[in-house]
Symmetry: C2
Subunit: 453 residues, 2 copies
């Protein structure tokens, strides 16, 4: 039994719906189908979810929402037309949405969540209608009926543990189950949405609940790539990735999906197969609990910009018990999180995302550090990029750091920082932002380039 999730671009047109149907029926194990709201059909298109958010906001502001409602319904209408589905079905969606928009708006966040979630809900109903029209035994199941209970946090709901047991009962239902992604119900029976990547989360929860043998996540790329295709031309596809590797890659610039979305599946030991709706025979990337270390020490290279480094030096710092703690307390006062703290004997640097601070806050922090810690010198360096090399076994692999550092040196890139030794699956280099691309390319070539014969 498999859970199959289709993203927005996989369900944006009638033609895409046809592909989805073919994928689902080509494997009888694909019993649970989680769907997103219709996504973009072309680069400048607007996702249905974004239309709905605008619509809800207009409504909350007392503005005329009718044009937006029409635009939303038109999206479903077009798909239905392409698939030759009945007009009555779309009329029902329309009246449901209008009814929803006329509800009480006292709790704005609740209202917004309910409207946002309707994009997935309508699409799930449409997919079920379409499957049935082709004579397939398929049925829409509401998260409410299925017992997918979530916390009260609108826009960031967390699944409640008792959901899993309830979802297990779905196994007994006949045929194919079409399930809307992105939301669940609170104990009070109200809709609450997950964070971004919400349909991925629903798929992972469902996979856990029904104890699926595999969670197939269909999107619009053939695989997770070993480097950012915007930086490296035609990077190698990753066949297998462990959860830990996925997590480290997600952290810095890998955007296939947010790793946290997959946690419910990982917790149950269920593998996730990332596949392409538009090329379903491609093997995709499998995210597993453990893998054979057959790909060399590095499985992927991620990078991210926008970091800065606060340098603090004070003579005899390393003797001063409590210095580091006091320094971090100052950052904490501003609610700031930091990434790394490389240190020398008399100095320490704090690497953090610079978007957390405006200039005023920055100056404030530097002044406090200087005064409260009697630091000899405090300075800040902006515009750093972090480059992360990820791979299980990295820690035990003699020479990986040397190869990476050599590649950077040969490319003329100065290493501003190396952080290696805590994570067992990653190694990090800090470089100036202007060197990010050349650095990633150099490391990619070192570990992935096929030597011409």
């Amino acid at each position: 039994m498999k859970v199959v999730k289709f993203g927005g671009s996989s369900l944006a047109t009638g033609a895409q719906f046809e592909k989805v149907l073919n994928i689902v029926i080509s494997d009888p194990k694909r019993k649970f189908v989680v769907v997103s709201a219709p996504g973009k059909r072309f680069a400048q298109d607007i996702k249905v979810t974004d239309l709905l958010i605008e619509c809800a906001e207009k409504t909350l502001n007392g503005e005329d929402n009718r044009e937006l409602v029409e635009t939303v319904i038109e999206r479903y209408q077009k798909i239905a037309d392409e698939l030759k589905l009945s007009l009555e079905f779309i009329q029902e969606l329309h009246s449901n949405l209008s009814e929803l928009l006329n509800r009480d708006t006292t709790n704005k966040n609740r209202f917004l969540d309910a409207v946002k979630a309707s994009g997935e809900d309508m699409n799930a109903k449409l997919v079920a209608e379409f499957f049935q029209s082709r004579g397939i035994d398929a049925a829409y199941v509401s998260p409410k009926d299925a017992g997918l209970l979530v916390s009260e946090e609108t826009g960031n709901a967390q699944v409640l543990p008792e959901s899993y047991e309830r979802l297990y009962a779905l196994r007994k239902l006949p045929g194919i189950i079409i399930f809307p992604g992105f939301f669940g119900y609170t104990k009070n029976g109200e809709v609450a949405t997950f964070s971004r990547s919400g349909s991925d989360i629903t798929g992972a929860i469902l996979a856990n609940g029904v104890k699926a043998e595999l969670y197939e996540n269909f999107t619009d790329v053939d695989a997770v790539y070993s480097a950012n295709p915007n930086i490296v031309h035609n990077p190698a596809a990753i066949r297998e990735l462990t959860y830990r590797e996925m997590r480290e890659l997600s952290y810095a610039g890998f955007s296939v999906f947010h790793d946290e979305a997959l946690i419910p599946a990982f917790r149950a030991g269920i593998s996730v197969n990332v596949k392409n709706t538009n090329n379903p025979t491609a093997p995709g990337t499998k995210i597993v609990h453990m893998r054979d270390n057959t790909n060399g020490p590095v499985v992927g290279i991620a990078s991210d910009k926008g970091f800065c480094s606060i340098y603090v030096s004070k003579y005899l710092m390393n003797r001063e018990v409590g210095f580091g703690r006091k320094l971090l307390s100052i950052l904490e006062d501003y609610g700031m999180s930091y990434e790394h703290t490389p240190s020398g004997i008399d100095d320490i640097s704090i690497i953090l995302r610079q978007s957390q601070m405006d200039r005023y806050t920055e100056q404030d922090i530097l002044t406090r550090i200087k005064n409260e810690l009697s630091a000899d010198e405090v300075k800040i360096e902006h515009n750093l990029a972090l480059i992360m090399l990820v791979g299980e076994e990295m820690k035990q692999n003699v020479g990986t750091a040397a190869r990476a550092a050599k590649a950077l040196a040969n490319a003329g890139v100065n290493i501003e920082m190396i952080n290696q030794g805590s994570s067992e699956v990653s190694m990090m280099f800090g470089v100036k932002e202007e060197n990010e691309r050349i650095a990633v390319k150099a490391i990619y070539d070192e570990f992935f380039a096929v030597v011409p014969v």
Copy 2:
């Protein structure tokens, strides 16, 4: 005008006294001579200072100290005999010491400090007596008369700022000034000693006070070496070293002298020349404020054992504002200092000297981290060595990290940790203790080995 300091081994025998005299008179700028107590004449010998400490402790315990007093005086007697100095002079030292040992012992630390300091004081008087016997215009000056005022901390006295101005007046004295190292006087007129390397400290204070053009520190090695001679056979001598480089090298295993001892000279911008009493024509090592970067990126390699690493992992750690601060607070509760904190996304390691914790404390700390921070995993790895590469310009030198890491890889050494990026003059590698020697050798060979022609 130069301040010249001679260590204990340079003043252990009459023959050494002759060398010292020749060195001093060979350069008319050598006006201020700071002396240690007589040191070891051979490997199994006992330093006079250690004899005096034993003597003071016996006295405090009410035991018979006469034999030890004789042993101490005999050391000076032998030197005086070799140099054919008058017997009356030694008799005076003897009666002075006996008088000192009969003083009030209510304040044990004060008593101990006064007895310890007498080793340098007697030796300074002996050097002055010897110089005068050779017709040289030389005089002993007491730190009390000179106005070398220090704080009340016995055994760890700190110079008081007003001393410098008073010491400046010594410039007006005629002839060569012989000054005992290791101690000063409190405002109450009591002797208080500096920490270990106390004569180095006196020399640095005096150099600052009299605004010397150079502080020559005579010891028994030709130079500061670029690596530990016990690990690397015949390592290269360092000609010039900056203060910062010296400090970083001192931190990990370099024992020529403790860098903090030189601070008073550094603060005044005075260079320090480490030279060999037994080979005074060798250029020695000059410790300067700035140097030309002519030696390649690495000037020295230091290493030290006895570190451990506490590994803490917790999912989503990097989102948790305050996590690092709370972790360091736990260490602070035990009064422990730490060296470095390399980190991943969901993990952080704390590198610290393992001698700070017994097994019980260690278990206690691990348990507290696990419970109070709800960590997923907490573990400790013992017996790590830190290897430090030191050199100005290191931060701007593309490829240094690559060369070092490559050398370690070629030697089959796994790198447990790299910490680079905060200090501008050093780079640190963590390896298992069993790999320390091979790692230092490999890095030395990479940066210092002369390629055979």
